[in-house]
């Protein structure tokens, strides 16, 4: 984290949200840890940050005080994304960020990823949905059983070539 790397974990419930804490506390958590033990954000500062990211990411929540566990999965994911964006990372790893959330939020997140990338942030986007990868990636690595089986770039990025890479190779296994 100190090197400017942020990691959005796959299992939101286990590795992402702090259920009973408010949306505000969830958003500032990472930045607060980065800032240090003896320099807490005042309530006003924290609320300002939270409001900023609630607006930016269009998070649907009753207030900044609402416990995060009462939000929908998509909005929870946005809060966690907001938490990492607040730390202004140079390199962002997203591990299945769109798993188990509604379609609208899914597209919101995909658009946001493209926007951030165009602004110069390096992003690794891990996903098991091919159309999602096609929409977001400029360079795609296909992995199977912990091994790299193919790399696709630019014009090679089509549904068909991805499927071929996934299905092909020396083994005839399907990626799940």
């Amino acid at each position: 984290m100190k090197q400017g790397i942020a990691y959005l974990a796959e299992d939101r419930k286990r590795d992402g949200i702090v259920g009973d804490l408010s949306v505000r506390d969830n958003i500032i958590l990472a930045l607060q840890v980065k800032k240090g033990f003896f320099k807490p954000f005042s309530k006003a500062e924290a609320t300002k940050f939270a409001d900023e990211y609630i607006k930016l990411l269009d998070i649907k929540t009753a207030s900044v005080e609402t416990p995060i566990k009462s939000l929908s999965g998509g909005n929870q994911q946005k809060v966690i994304l907001g938490r990492w964006l607040l730390t202004h990372p140079k390199y962002l790893i997203l591990d299945e960020p769109t798993r188990g959330i509604d379609v609208g939020t899914k597209i919101d997140i995909q658009k946001l990823v493209l926007k951030l990338a165009s602004e110069g942030m390096s992003i690794t986007f891990i996903s098991s949905e091919t159309d999602e990868m096609l929409r977001t990636c400029s360079r795609l690595l296909v992995m199977r059983d912990r091994k790299l089986v193919g790399e696709l770039k630019g014009d090679e990025l089509t549904q068909k070539s991805i499927m071929n890479t996934i299905a092909g190779g020396e083994q005839d296994e399907q990626q799940n």
Partner: protein, 363 residues
């Protein structure tokens, strides 16, 4: 605030939902009960003690006096509970150790010296170190070895009192110096008992710590979701450890008050069962014993609720042997009333009461 625009019913329901509501309600119920049965309960008189100092006496004074140790312990216990999702049951035994250390340093090898062998402040600092070391011992067992907090602290719970006795070679030292008894009794000229001031100082210190550090946020996130906290750059083990050390510090202060009250110590009786009362204070304060969100002010109030209850029962000449049984009945009532499921029901009931009234006023 937007409170003014809210209807009265909303304020009441919001109040019931507030965590601090439980201890305040408990205090109110106890006060009203006393007021009805015997209003003289609240009488405070100014008298003189054996040294000729002006002192206030009365049940309320005795509550804020003898509730101090419990309130101080409640601070640390709340933090430990929130971070490690378990309780420290060794505090009573650690108080015995802490008190024993103070007496040992003050009296030296002679158990009844005419003069103090060391300044009180030195004795207190040594006692702080020892108590924090005990806390650290528990903390390491819990955070590094990941032992259940109650099992980990069971070790000191069992061994603590004999260690305390061993520190003083099983003798019962008595401090004759009058200045030492200040901490547990009265400062000459001030009619309010000193333990209350010590407790007050502890509250102020912990409030400042909460304000100027991120301890609260860290402890809450570690208690709620250790894995997330780790990914956010926190060190859950260290934070748990720290809460045990803070509890150790609270124990040291409580130990000082305890031994100062009688200028001596009785290893097997001092602070007996106080760990259970401290855990109870946390529970009455509405804090989850399963860790996570916490409110220290509510725990402190909870501690005074327990003391209020004890004093009330004494007032009604309840046999000290039978006291725990009576206490248990009231505690069960309190805990059941404060259970979330019951509170939701009460809130719903209030809404029912309110809505027909509203309908009437509109028509």
């Amino acid at each position: 605030m937007s409170n003014k625009t809210k209807t009265e019913g909303n304020i009441i329901t919001a109040l019931i939902r507030k965590q601090i509501f439980i201890p305040i309600a408990a205090l109110l119920i106890l006060s009203i009960f006393n007021l009805i049965v015997d209003p003289s309960f609240f009488k405070i008189t100014l008298g003189h003690n054996s040294d000729g100092n002006p002192v206030l006496t009365g049940n309320l004074i005795s509550i804020i006096d003898s509730g101090s140790e419990l309130a101080i312990l409640a601070i640390g216990m709340t933090l430990v509970t929130a971070a490690s999702r378990g309780q420290d049951i060794s505090v009573g035994a650690t108080i015995a150790i802490a008190g024993s250390v103070i007496l040992r340093v003050l009296c030296g090898t002679n158990s009844r010296p005419e003069e103090l062998q060391a300044p009180i402040i030195v004795a207190f600092l040594v006692c702080c170190l020892v108590a924090m070391a005990c806390g650290a011992f528990n903390g390491i067992l819990v955070s590094v070895f990941k032992i259940q907090p109650m099992v980990a602290t069971l070790i000191l719970f069992t061994a603590g009192r004999s260690i305390a006795a061993w520190i003083n070679n099983n003798e019962l030292p008595v401090v004759k110096d009058k200045t030492f008894s200040i901490f547990g009794n009265y400062i000459p000229g001030i009619p309010i008992p000193t333990p209350f001031f010590i407790a007050l100082a502890c509250f102020v210190i912990i409030a400042l710590v909460m304000k100027f550090t991120t301890l609260k946020l860290y402890v809450q996130s570690v208690g709620l979701n250790e894995q997330t906290s780790r990914l956010n750059g926190l060190n859950p083990a260290f934070i748990k450890f720290i809460t045990y050390v803070i509890l150790g510090l609270c124990v040291a202060v409580a130990g000082l008050i305890k031994v100062s009250r009688f200028s001596s110590i009785n290893y097997s009786v001092v602070a007996k069962d106080i760990e259970m009362d401290a855990i109870l204070a946390v529970a009455i304060g509405g804090n989850s014993l399963g860790g996570g969100k916490f409110k220290i002010s509510a725990s402190i109030l909870g501690a005074y609720v327990i003391q209020f209850l004890t004093t009330t029962l004494y007032k009604f000449d309840v046999n000290s042997e039978a006291l725990p049984a009576y206490k248990a009945v009231v505690v069960i009532a309190l805990v059941v009333l404060s259970a979330p499921i019951v509170r939701e029901k009460i809130t719903a009931l209030f809404k029912k009461f309110k809505s027909p009234e509203k309908a009437e006023s509109k028509s």
